[in-house]
């Protein structure tokens, strides 16, 4: 073994020790979701005819195909996993991005890498350990999920193809994060950069699957998990693609690591201003300063997303030429209804993503506290409520800007096609804003956690993931109505194209406000920890 890798084994054990709860929990979640969704599908569509019918109707709804991908063959297996394949692959990719950064750049940023680096640890041992951990955990999640599918009664070969497809996505994005961790100085930026890559990959396959051209899906690592065609021919050679790309990414990461010093990124630091500017006068100015670049990137992403979604929506109804599809469209309420359904599905997904933004704001506040930067601020004449209000303003206010810009740009792109931009801009901006109350509930949950259980503020992610899974799989699993009602997203209007009831929006907003107020009240009373 090369001396630059000395100590990799010890670092792998350290990483596994640190992740001894995290990784098993996520492995169980993925396995359970895969197995239960296969079992539920078998119960709903017992006969081959049922499966063909289900596959046909799914494939004729572009909104579904864009979001999840098509059902490639009307087999039980392919129908079972159609929602899981790309979507689950993206979630695994997300997990591996955070895992890789957690064990590379985050360690370096915290100064722990330096401590280890002085021990008998090779230059690339940390990077190698992170790659080993993401590779092994991707494979474990993939194999366990495959076992779960097989246990639910699906063919073993297809189950394996599906599981390995998921693992491939983990490998590629773990590798991508290993590269971005070399480029930026902050762990946050490294994860952010890799997530942008993930979103681009997901988006590429969404376009390729729904409106085409088809080859776009082949350009996306998320698309590859679908092109393996589990239970629809099992195209094994496609699995070579993620392997090759992941290996190439690791080579790039090593080359980038070789080209830089400890703690450095590939971009050098420049000197900054010697005096604080006029905006940096207080707590709110500081919060704004610390978060503005990040918010700017989110806004740019939403503007782009809105333009693309609006553009896609116009195509949705026109792509279907077969007589059967036409009949289906008519039955569903015509082209306009199809397009509205597509947009509504995308907007409800945007609500989940926007909630993720709101949660990151409060998680950030907590990491500021843990980094010992909140205590010295509160040692000045700064009221705790005012400091927290700065973060809350961002968690509650930025989603307004994000969803408005999404609605405006989607409305613009869609409306220009229809020739009625004014109407569509107003209609879709309204549809975006209607998602806000549910987002505020998630912001409230994060704020309350920050006040009451600061150490567990990351549980807000568990809440968001649970609500997301309830929305995606709750109906499939035939959960009781009250369980589905636990998710605030269940109560958001399916806009555009549906009737709006004010009551749920009002009480969601009230619930969010109560949670926020409770979080603030508790933060006033609790110890500011180090």
């Amino acid at each position: 073994m090369s001396a630059t890798l000395t100590g990799t084994g010890a670092l792998v054990r350290l990483a596994l020790r640190r992740d001894r709860v995290r990784l098993p929990v996520w492995t169980s979640v993925f396995t359970a979701v895969a197995a239960s969704s296969a079992a539920a599908t078998a119960a709903i569509y017992p006969a081959a005819g049922d499966q063909r019918g289900a596959a046909d109707s799914i494939n004729s709804i572009p909104a579904l195909v864009a979001l999840y991908g098509p059902v490639y063959e009307p087999t039980l297996g392919a129908t079972s996993v159609f929602k899981l394949t790309a979507f689950g692959a993206a979630l695994i990719a997300l997990l591996m991005i955070f895992t890789a950064v957690r064990h590379t750049r985050a360690e370096e940023e915290a100064g722990r890498r330096e401590l280890l680096g002085s021990a008998v640890v090779g230059r690339f041992a940390g990077l190698a350990a992170a790659v080993v951990v993401t590779t092994v955990s991707s494979l474990v999640i993939g194999l366990f999920s495959a076992a779960g599918l097989a246990a639910a009664g699906l063919p073993v070969a297809g189950s394996l193809a599906f599981g390995l497809g998921w693992a491939g996505s983990g490998l590629v994005f773990g590798g991508l994060a290993a590269v971005t961790a070399q480029l930026t100085k902050s762990a946050r930026a490294a994860s952010g950069l890799a997530v942008v890559g993930l979103l681009a990959a997901y988006f590429l396959r969404a376009v390729g699957d729904s409106t085409g051209p088809r080859w776009l899906s082949w350009g996306s690592p998320i698309g590859w998990t679908q092109q393996v065609r589990p239970f629809a021919g099992d195209v094994w050679w496609v699995l070579a693609l993620p392997l090759l790309v992941a290996a190439a990414l690791v080579v790039v990461a090593v080359a980038a690591a070789r080209a830089r010093d400890l703690d450095a990124g590939l971009l050098p630091d420049r000197a900054g201003p010697a005096h604080a500017g006029r905006t940096l006068t207080g707590a709110w100015g500081l919060v704004w300063r610390l978060n503005r670049a990040n918010l700017g990137a989110w806004l740019a992403g939403y503007v782009l997303l809105g333009l693309v979604l609006g553009g896609l929506a116009g195509n949705v109804g026109k792509m279907l030429d077969s007589a059967g599809a036409r009949a289906l469209i008519a039955a569903l309420g015509g082209e306009q209804a199809m397009e509205d359904a597509f947009l509504a599905a995308e907007f409800s997904m945007a609500a989940v993503i926007t909630s993720a933004y709101a949660i990151t704001v409060l998680v950030r506040f907590r990491s500021e506290e843990r980094a010992l930067r909140v205590g010295p601020l509160l040692a000045t004449a700064l009221d705790r409520r005012r400091l927290m209000a700065g973060y809350l303003l961002l968690a509650v206010g930025a989603p307004v800007a994000l969803l408005t810009s999404l609605g405006l740009t989607a409305g613009l792109a869609y409306g220009v096609r229809l020739g009625t931009p004014g109407t569509e801009v107003a209609r879709l901006a309204g549809a975006g804003l209607a998602q806000l109350p549910a987002v505020w509930v998630l912001a409230g949950i994060a704020a309350a956690l920050f006040g009451f259980l600061a150490r567990a503020v990351a549980f807000a992610w568990v809440a968001l993931t649970t609500f997301l899974l309830l929305g995606e799989f709750g109906t499939l699993l035939k959960l009781d109505r009250w369980v589905l009602d636990l998710s605030p997203f269940t109560h958001s209007p399916k806009l555009p194209g549906a009737a709006v009831q004010a009551a749920p929006l009002l009480w969601l907003t009230a619930l969010g406000a109560v949670l926020v107020a409770a979080g603030v009240a508790r933060f006033r009373q609790r110890d500011v920890s180090g």
Partner: protein, 300 residues
């Protein structure tokens, strides 16, 4: 108002760990008060309680005539704090942090800001992530000194500074005392406290062990002496004021009260000392003396 800080029977525990176990502390207005103790004695916890960052379990706590928890915001206008572990925002420059903290405190004297930046040779244009530990500490020290306040709470402020900067820091503390400021200086370096403080409080395991002026404290300080002798150590062994004498071969070790030092040196010289090392007692030795009864004479 003669006491800037008044603490009675203060208790604070974190889970099963008792950080403060009935602490008493009085800091008079206008004095430099050394707050001494080993790592983990509860110094930082006390300061964080005084700043209203932590909520006391029980006990009395008065700061500048107010309640540190209830009146936190108004009290903080009148004090400045240098944390023991300074963490800066990675993408803010030192200058920006100094201005921000100053503005949050209610104002900053630009002349003092410039003066202390020059004194400590700190480049305010460097980003937070690029500063060394010592320079991060300087940012906090400059921010605290540049705002004109009544009370300075300093938590091991020199732990990352080089000896030159430590000297400059001491000058600044003396200046502040001249200007009538009250300073609470937490430290585990006795020589620093000796050089700067009017009075000193020593805590251990969350309790006050000893408190008083330096003269009062000096009755406790003994100089440790190690010497090699050509003659007999017999007289030294009998000498009043020489404690913990151990003899091994021609080497003798002992500690001497300040008052007995001339007599001890005379006896050493008579005994033909040809090598001599003396050093002031460390804080650790002071604690040991407080808590452990030493055997008086152990000839080997």
């Amino acid at each position: 108002m003669s006491a800037a800080i008044e603490i009675r029977d203060l208790r604070k525990s974190f889970g099963h760990t008792e950080a403060l176990d009935g602490l008493d502390l009085t800091v008079r207005t206008g004095e430099v008060h050394g707050f001494l103790g080993p790592n983990g004695a509860g110094k930082t916890t006390t300061l964080r309680l005084l700043l209203g960052l932590l909520h006391a379990d029980s006990g009395e706590l008065r700061l500048l005539g107010g309640d540190p928890w209830r009146d936190a915001v108004s009290l903080h206008r009148r004090l400045a704090y240098v944390p023991g572990e300074v963490s800066l925002w990675p993408n803010l420059t030192g200058g920006e942090v100094i201005d921000l903290l100053g503005r949050l405190r209610g104002g900053l004297d630009p002349k003092r800001r410039k003066r202390y930046l020059d004194l400590f040779e700190l480049d305010p244009r460097t980003k937070g992530r690029a500063y060394s530990k010592g320079n991060r500490q300087k940012v906090a020290v400059v921010a605290a000194l540049a705002s004109d306040v009544e009370l300075l709470l300093l938590d091991e402020p020199t732990s990352g500074l080089d000896p030159l900067m430590e000297q400059i820091f001491r000058e600044c503390v003396r200046e502040e005392r001249e200007r009538g400021r009250t300073i609470l200086l937490s430290s585990h370096i006795l020589s620093e406290a000796e050089a700067l403080c009017d009075r000193v409080s020593i805590i251990r395991a969350g309790r006050l062990v000893d408190s008083g002026s330096l003269d009062e404290l000096r009755h406790l300080t003994r100089t440790s002496i190690t010497a090699r002798l050509t003659g007999s150590p017999a007289e030294l062994v009998r000498l009043l004021g020489a404690h913990g004498v151990t003899v091994a071969g021609d080497e003798i070790r002992l500690s001497a009260d300040a008052a007995a030092l001339p007599a001890v040196l005379g006896a050493l010289s008579k005994a033909g000392a040809h090598s001599l090392i003396s050093r002031p007692p460390t804080l650790e030795e002071l604690f040991l003396r407080h808590y452990r009864s030493e055997p008086e004479v152990v000839p080997v």
